[in-house]
């Protein structure tokens, strides 16, 4: 009897997920555990920070100096980048090309990580204009894509989720090949490049191609690992080690159009 109720609840949850929303039962559960989760996250983060402060003070100070240097560099480059961006927009306008899509950045916290299902939960939802399909970035790379959203939270399929795929580009001086990077429900992703030649080499940076309007161009996805030819389809395949280790980060940014 209870099993049957479970199956019915599962069907109800799946139908809500298909529409990109969260069903009432799951919303109720999330609401019930919301504050205990926030409290536990706070305690866990505080403990971790305290431990790092005591036992890793030297490396923290070193990292802080590196970050200060990187910030100074970023500030110096920012004005030049803005000027170039403006020039590019004007050139595209003259050439009658469509303008690059612009994204509003919504910063948020990662409140739940589900390694078994390759998903995370964020503390922002439809109240902050988050919709299914929005890309999520953080720690210098792509994290995943929003798949379900409730008013105050949303769920993200990580880049390693089996349903995730994104247009990708190999970043190398001799090669700018485009392909598709997809999740495999494992620690690594799979890159498929539609050429038989040597388009990918181990260590190559893989970024979003920007060929679709969903993801902006140039977001780091990962680095190529093992490369092999798929002779059945006449393509090249490679494993990708994602840039972002979700287990170690606390914050993310949702890109909203």
């Amino acid at each position: 009897m209870l099993g049957l109720v479970g199956v019915l609840l599962g069907i109800y949850q799946s139908s809500a997920k298909t529409g990109g929303s969260v069903d009432l039962v799951s919303s109720g559960v999330q609401l019930a555990v919301r504050y205990p989760v926030l409290a536990m996250n706070g305690v866990a983060d505080w403990t971790s920070d305290f431990k790092s402060g005591i036992f890793g003070a030297n490396s923290l100070a070193k990292r802080n100096r590196l970050l200060e240097g990187a910030l100074a560099q970023y500030r110096a480059d920012r004005s030049a980048m803005e000027s170039l961006r403006k020039d590019l927009a004007e050139t595209r306008e003259i050439a009658k090309l469509p303008a690059y899509p612009t994204f509003k950045k919504v910063p948020c916290d990662i409140v739940g990580y589900f390694p078994q299902t390759h998903r995370i939960m964020l503390n922002v939802g439809t109240k902050r204009m988050i919709k299914p399909g929005a890309p999520v970035i953080g720690a210098g790379g792509l994290i995943g894509q929003v798949v379900e959203a409730s008013p105050t939270s949303c769920y993200v399929n990580l880049v390693t989720h089996s349903d995730f795929s994104v247009g990708a580009r190999v970043v190398r001086a001799q090669s700018q090949e485009a392909g598709i990077a997809s999740g495999q429900a494992a620690e690594t992703m799979l890159l498929s490049v539609y050429t038989e030649g040597v388009a990918v080499q181990p260590g190559d940076l893989i970024t979003t191609s920007g060929l679709s309007t969903v993801y902006p161009e140039g977001i780091a996805i990962g680095h190529a690992g093992k490369v092999w030819p798929n002779k059945n389809y006449g393509i090249q395949e490679a494993s990708i080690q994602p840039v972002v280790d979700v287990a170690t980060i606390r914050h993310a940014v949702v890109l909203v159009r």
Partner: protein
């Protein structure tokens, strides 16, 4: 009333811990399933019906917070709870060894049922992760048993 509220409250707290703490407790890639640990301890020395209800609520919470595979979570946790109850009732007394055996039965039955209800793409990776969870849960359940030991091991 107390008989229902007590396990429900525990499961609610553990569900929060499953979201907030369990992913940070990884050792060599193995992560615990805290809700299954709670199901094991709460279901031992209870009837199969009560254990099934505990498993149902644990599955509901796990499927709800993860917002995925609700049916698989509920059915697998019901069977896991019943397995813990059966092991608990067939052993003479609650000792660390019997609690560990109960945990292995609960996690094993729940994991195999979960697998049968939705075969993962990376089967080998999933099996390794499950093996890690099996060992982690068994070790954790003994620790929690020592902390919360009451009478005949009923938590």
């Amino acid at each position: 009333m107390k008989a229902v509220a007590y396990p429900a409250l525990w499961l609610l707290i553990v569900a929060a811990a499953q979201v907030a703490i369990a992913p940070k407790m990884g050792i060599f890639g193995a992560r615990p399933d805290l809700l299954l640990v709670a199901v094991t301890l709460l279901s031992m020395n209870r009837t199969s019906d009560a254990a099934a209800a505990i498993g149902f609520f644990a599955g509901l919470l796990h499927g709800g917070v993860a917002n995925t595979k609700m049916a698989a979570f509920i059915v697998s946790r019901i069977l896991g709870g019943v397995a813990a109850s059966v092991v608990g009732r067939t052993t003479m007394a609650a000792t660390p060894l019997t609690v560990m055996a109960s945990s292995l039965a609960t996690t094993g039955v729940a994991s195999v049922t979960y697998l049968l209800l939705g075969v993962p793409k990376d089967l080998l990776g999933w099996m390794l992760a499950t093996l890690g969870t099996l060992v982690y849960n068994a070790a954790l359940v003994v620790g929690v048993f020592w902390l919360f030991r009451k009478g005949r091991g009923r938590v």
